[in-house]
Symmetry: none
Subunit: 210 residues, 4 copies
DNA sequence: AATGAATGAGAATTCATTCAT
DNA sequence: GATGAATGAATTCTCATTCAT
């Protein structure tokens, strides 16, 4: 309890500062000052500045993944699970805004090219996510509630990019659509793009010329 | 010619390095060395390291916007213009990979929160882009070639996020779908999400229960 | 017993680590961890990190000096005492390798220039050693078993340097001669350099031309 | 010329400070201050603090080795070359006191255990020295001017240790014999230990009992 | 006696930028 | 325009030591 109070304070402050100013522009001295601890204390709880980021990443992504796991386990059909996923995405986002922003901002630096031991772990977590989404899409394809025009895997990857990009622009203030509205639009967008035609009517799409 | 050879060399090298290692992890000394100029020379051509990034950003985004302007001017209907836009996006991307990656990586640092004079300029350019997309969507809505379920502006913003996110994940190697395939999928996805129902048939969507 | 078990563990671990990595490169945290005690416990048994070194130094040098005292007390002639001293040196070395290495490595830092209270104590112990060696040489000179060409004091100082340097190079792996062989060589070397000419023959050395 | 003035100043100051207080106890800030340059300037001329030590080591040892090479080339007999070597040792020492002390103090840290690329280079230089001394002893053994009771290599290693140890104790003020006197004593010591018996007289040594 | 979380004064190093040549 | 030596502020990290429990 008391033992981890400072640790949590550090993580909370760091999330906020990283989100606001970026990892590289946030000196450890500022984290310490705002968290009300000595600078050395950071290094009592974390290996390095990078270790602080790593903890934020892990705790946030683990929670996100657990949430998805949970909704998958509910056994709804693919289409409903997909909608649940989008809902979960935006709910979780709200509850962990600073953490999300931090991760959004820093992914290329810390997940991108450089192949380090811990970046491999991070990549793995993220690909776990793609795996979960693939699972949902496959279920929908099997139970007829979703119509995939591409492989489930490819579609899942695209969806991840879509969620990422819209979320990011929204959180960075690059676009103005309010978050709930964005969630609604994306839900709708996916529904239309992935919905099979109502029964009893032929899909006419193939006949189009383009 | 001779006057700008070193300038171009600097920009080319900087784009590559920023893309590979990130802005913050690329010392000016390395840019100078790889470009084959003295470190001081950087400061004859640019105000600062930030100025180098700024030039990459401006030249790249200006070219992109000009391309969109161009395709809008061709006077095709909204739907076709939208497809042209996606095509243009991926074409331009291919031709300016390093520059795009640089911008992708650094936007939050340099465009995000902090309101400086030059970040305002950059934001403006980006919002010009949203304006162009809005224009295309409005045209499609007016000429019946596109069906918007939300305002053209909101839809445009969402589309920008979608393009950004998928492009980024692809370029950072976070997802595996090859670029041309991704372009195809997105084209298809948008077509389904924004296509009006074939004439003579009522849109049944509204009747669904969900 | 139980009272000093942790103290001994600390000294043993510290000797080993100081010998392996050097005093400055051995954090107290590592000593504590390897000794299986808490970091604060170090400070119950010793005043400071320096105090740990001091204890190693004192205990080791005291034992060494006691051994010399002992062999001097046996009342052999000077020559034999000198050979006993060399033997004792290498025997003691073997039994206290880590401690010796620690002292070898750190002497200049902690015994050298800086005149502190405790460094004076240490210097005094070392000069006690020179005193003992001087005593042996004087005895040999008096009883005719050794031939000194310089004052006993000067010769003793030189011998100390000789023992120190060869021992050190050997322990640091700078030279390859095995320890027993080195002991033999030094014994022999001293014997030839300090041996009086066989009785009944004039020392011809003075007549040489060089 | 002017280009290297600051570099030399840094090396001179660093030698002095390392010799006085030890490498680990000399902050780079102090080197910079005393050398009259900015701290960053150190890193313009050297890779790291370690690089400064490395330069001192290399320049000093290279000069020493060149001197030995030189005296070997004079073609004197082994015995005289050995005496020249001792003379050269003490001459060079006088001319590079601070550098020698620095190297004396820091060898274990920087040459000892840890096998790094540059420590291998340093070890190699030092073993070159042993090689040179071996060469001299072999020559003396061949031309009859020296009597070796052990292999030339082993004797050379022992001699190196002897020179090292006595020099070191002298320079650290652990012993009081003045430098010239020490040189004389060592010369004499070696002469007696390695001198063949005058012609026409049998070596009686083997007959002794001990 | 024992613990270990917390401290904070330093340490080495980096790097964008300047300026005399 | 071009150079590159020099700068010094800023940054991350280390670690001996303390002290409340």
């Amino acid at each position: 309890m008391g033992k981890t109070r400072k640790r949590s304070a550090i993580l909370a402050v760091a999330s906020r500062l990283f989100a606001e100013k970026g990892y590289a522009n946030t000196p450890t001295s500022e984290i310490a000052r705002e968290a009300g601890v000595a600078e050395g204390t950071l290094y009592h709880h974390f290996d390095s500045k990078d270790g602080i980021f790593l903890s934020i990443f892990n705790e946030t992504v683990d929670g996100y993944i657990a949430g998805v796991e949970n909704l998958i386990g509910r056994g709804k059909n693919g289409r409903e699970s997909l909608l649940d996923l989008i809902r979960h995405h935006f709910d979780y986002l709200r509850a962990h805004e600073a953490q999300f922003l931090t991760i959004l901002r820093e992914s290329p630096e810390r997940i991108g090219r450089r192949k380090t031991a811990s970046s491999a772990v991070r990549r793995k977590k993220l690909s776990r996510l793609t795996g979960q989404m693939t699972e949902i899409l496959e279920r929908g394809s099997a139970d007829g509630s979703l119509l995939l025009r591409y492989s489930a895997r490819d579609t899942a990857e695209m969806l991840r990019g879509i969620l990422y990009g819209t979320t990011r622009h929204r959180m960075l203030g690059i676009i103005d659509v309010p978050l709930p509205r964005l969630a609604e639009m994306l839900t709708d967008f996916c529904r239309h793009a992935l919905t099979p035609p109502p029964k009893g009517r032929a899909e006419r799409h193939g006949g189009e010329k383009h």
